[in-house]
Symmetry: C2
Subunit: 385 residues, 2 copies
Amino acid sequence: MSIGSQLHCKFEVPEIIFGRGLLSQVGSCARRLGGKKVFLVSDQGLFNAGWVDRVMKSLLDADLSFVFYDQVTSNPKDFEIEQGAKEYIANGADVIVGLGGGSAMDAAKGIAILVSNGGNICAYAGNDKIHRPLPPLVLCPTTCGTGSDVSQFVVVNNTQERCKLTIMSRCVAPDISLTDPDTLLTLPDEYVGTTAMDALTHAVEAFFSVASSTLTDVNALRALRLLSNSLADAVQERRPEDMETLARASLHAGMAFSNSLLGIGHALSHPIGGLYDANHGSVNAALLPEVLLYDFPVVTDKIAEMARAMGFQAVNDLGGAKEMAYETIMEMLEVAGAPNSLRELGVRKEDLPLLAQRAIKDICVMTSPRETDEEDLLALLQRAF
Amino acid sequence: MSIGSQLHCKFEVPEIIFGRGLLSQVGSCARRLGGKKVFLVSDQGLFNAGWVDRVMKSLLDADLSFVFYDQVTSNPKDFEIEQGAKEYIANGADVIVGLGGGSAMDAAKGIAILVSNGGNICAYAGNDKIHRPLPPLVLCPTTCGTGSDVSQFVVVNNTQERCKLTIMSRCVAPDISLTDPDTLLTLPDEYVGTTAMDALTHAVEAFFSVASSTLTDVNALRALRLLSNSLADAVQERRPEDMETLARASLHAGMAFSNSLLGIGHALSHPIGGLYDANHGSVNAALLPEVLLYDFPVVTDKIAEMARAMGFQAVNDLGGAKEMAYETIMEMLEVAGAPNSLRELGVRKEDLPLLAQRAIKDICVMTSPRETDEEDLLALLQRAF
């Protein structure tokens, strides 16, 4: 089955549970999957905000014991995952719960890979290199981006090469994705914007992907609609209902891109994240305007629908739709605090050729709607610089 | 988690594979699930059309042996399922493939329940009464209605009581839903219309359900859009691309209703199907106009979106949207050959009180957007009579 065929499509998502207050159900989920001793992966910020305690209580309520692992930083590093796997095995855990943003969840997935497949995490980069089934996995996102809680991807930082590797396999999707949007209430302001920009980029790239289908489109479009309706309010007022809408947008975007994959935006953002340990959502945001302009000429038939999802009401006005779609996304990026250039994120001009060289090998290039090459990617980086 | 809460929602679908020609992949799917000997459930019509042979070839290509079971009729009967389970066990099968419409697929699911849980199939009616895991299950729909290939339901005809029972459990959803829309090319004309009316009713009732969420809405709305765009062409011209669109509409509608459940349309259609062995899609179609008129007053906030999905372009015109939605659905029913009344389907006036009495106990009443009672249901039956 060709990945790019419009006619053949696949759609696979974990069991999804979504609702305010549902963190109290994590224990019963882990128990239902057959777990007795939980390896709980999270980070210090969530511990300080009290959410880790909430999960621990839920685990105890379900008569589960647990080990807590918080040695995870942003853009999760190979050695953090390898250390986590050692601790999982040493403690005799049998189910993994990941609570956090993309970093904690990707670390949890990486640990799951290693405890059943062994070896070094970087060896699993690429498509379908995992052969033994993973332990049961429950992922609970606490940001409004990432999509790792539903996706078939793990992004890991290879610290020796200073590059991000993408592991892609149907078996890294968790058993259960559980979103409690209340966890967003303590998310630091800057992360609301940066992770929402990640969700926005997922929705756009998933919708344009050559592997998109109606099964993914409906989710990408709903994400765009929810973001365009609520992002400004969410960033400015942070009411619980706005945060819930952002969490829902992130979930829809994740369901879309996990099945349609992405495009050159993410192909470029992975090496940048790897080289500078830069914030993933911010890098995506700095690239998105140029990605839109690059892709627009080849996705003409999709632009009207995209604009309509974001509230455009005129009929048969493709020029107006294109302008509206671009402007609406620009406004969202601004509201979310997007950087104006890659330079602002610490990218160095002399590294651009290396970044283009790495990006063209990224798995996300495969589903770019516009055929691309290293030269085009370098030119795009220069424009976004 | 309350089933009717707008805030807490769940979404669970099997792995979905969709595309023309993909029946050749059934064998590799069954093999991937760990099967060695397949119990293939289908019917004589599909055997005669050559599709069963196609699946058998795919099983042999994947080095799987199989037993073929075709003792399935429409509105599958308890004894057909019980006989199938005996043959599965006698033949030492270890994976089930269901190929057909709702009847063959529900029979396959029923057999899966019995071979691992024992007893009589009617004993599993209701919510969550299945305690032992089912054998691996691949379902391949060959009509454009039903949704059984993705749903958490089995509808069985209790032949002693002449009533349809609904079994609801997350574990009856198959492992893989594989749609090859080419199978629709040999579907007899009348079934194109009747099964498409079933998909239409699923989409409407799922969208209005109190357990709907954005996760189900996006699928219900896409089903409505695809049906309103393609039903007339599909029925009249039957081009492969139209049939593919209908199959896709049915899939989206199935993904929606399996998670949001349905409403009084299905609550009423189950006892009618049970008492008269009547065509499920036709019964739904005969009821749908009255169901719409009954539900419209309580789903005002959803009508504009529903009309928009079907092509309504005016803004802020709720009256127009309601009229357009109703008229568009009426046109689709007419094109699909819907009966004008229950009477045409052999329903007897003196049975209406019994039907209302059975309908009010149906599980689908739980998610009706409008609170209902036996009296209201009887009045609705009389109007549709």
